[in-house]
Amino acid sequence: MEAVAALDRDAELMLRVRAGDDTSFALLLERHRGPVVHFLYRMVQNPSVSEELAQEVFLRVYRSRATYEPTAKFTTWLFRIATHLALNWVRDGKKEKGQESLDEQVLDGVDRQVPDRQPTIEQAMLFEVKMTEVRQAIEALPAKQRAAVLMHKYEELEYAQIARALSCSESAVKSLLFRAYESLRSRLAHMSG
């Protein structure tokens, strides 16, 4: 069990946010913006949607600052929110792989700026050869297995943290991961060498 006594740095920042310190929220955003967006991008495989969901994650964090209690690691809570939103999105079948629109206007009135993603020739080749297969292999996984793999592999969360994020037992997470990696091994085995 994650002890409250060993309060992590993020939980301390969040407690400051609860006390009204918005600078601490900016620090939390700085630390976790990338991992949350990347996790959601790999879950939904759509850059626009992943950023919208990530915005919702941080909005919910800010919204619930007054009632925040550090009962678990901050990242566990953060990824629980992100996983919940991503699984809902997948479940609701919002899978239209929309192209990014440069003139997309979001409700808050601030235009979404598309980042500069000019790939090098090497990167382009890598994406052509490997990435499509990796993306398809990940996408083919059931949503919960996908979330478990992404939190385990990319975010390096512990089994207990993944279990809390997915609201299941630690042994269930291990089973999910084992089945997921079994599928990935069979799909991606030919990519070696």
Partner: protein, 163 residues
């Protein structure tokens, strides 16, 4: 060491070994096992390939104005009426409530309703009370009625006897 490919309870050792998150002692122990177990060695090699392939999947960069858009949403929400914020917290909690927790208000409301009805409904015992009183009062009448029957009986039998 129990073989991870044959015993499920320590299957994560293989994953942790390939992810390089095993302790040095466990890593050394598992490497000895790998030398003796062809199944584990084959699985570990395949798992490392999978991890290698996944690592190549580089994430897309975050939009430069991500924070600005978020702060604009926060500002918009804070400018909204309090009841809207309250509704947002109820209908969009940071993490979902378990189903049994959401049933608590419903159960509580039903309990209050049942208690209210019980207070307003008349007690079954008090409804039955008048009938008990009626039986006590009628004993004399019953005796009187039986006597009346006795009086009437010869009058009824007289025509039969005469036949």
């Amino acid at each position: 060491m129990n073989c991870p490919t044959k015993r499920n309870e320590n299957a994560e050792i293989l994953l942790d070994y390939c992810a390089q998150t095993l302790s040095p002692e466990m890593t050394a122990e598992f490497e000895i096992h790998l030398e003796q177990c062809a199944d584990c060695a084959r699985l570990a090699a395949a798992q490392k390939e999978v991890f290698g392939a996944l690592e190549a999947w580089t994430p897309v960069p975050v939009s430069p104005n991500f924070d600005a858009r978020l702060y604009a949403r926060i500002a918009k929400e804070q400018a909204a009426p309090a009841w809207q914020l309250w509704l947002s917290r109820i209908f969009h909690p940071p993490v979902p409530y378990p189903l049994w927790k959401s049933a608590i208000p419903l159960v509580a409301a039903c309990a209050v309703l049942a208690a209210g009805l019980a207070v307003r409904m008349p007690d079954a015992a008090t409804v039955a009370q008048p009938q008990l009183h009626a039986e006590k009062v009628d004993i004399e009448q019953v005796e009187q009625t039986l006597e009346d029957f006795d009086i009437l009986t010869p009058a009824v039998q007289t025509p039969t006897g005469s036949m």
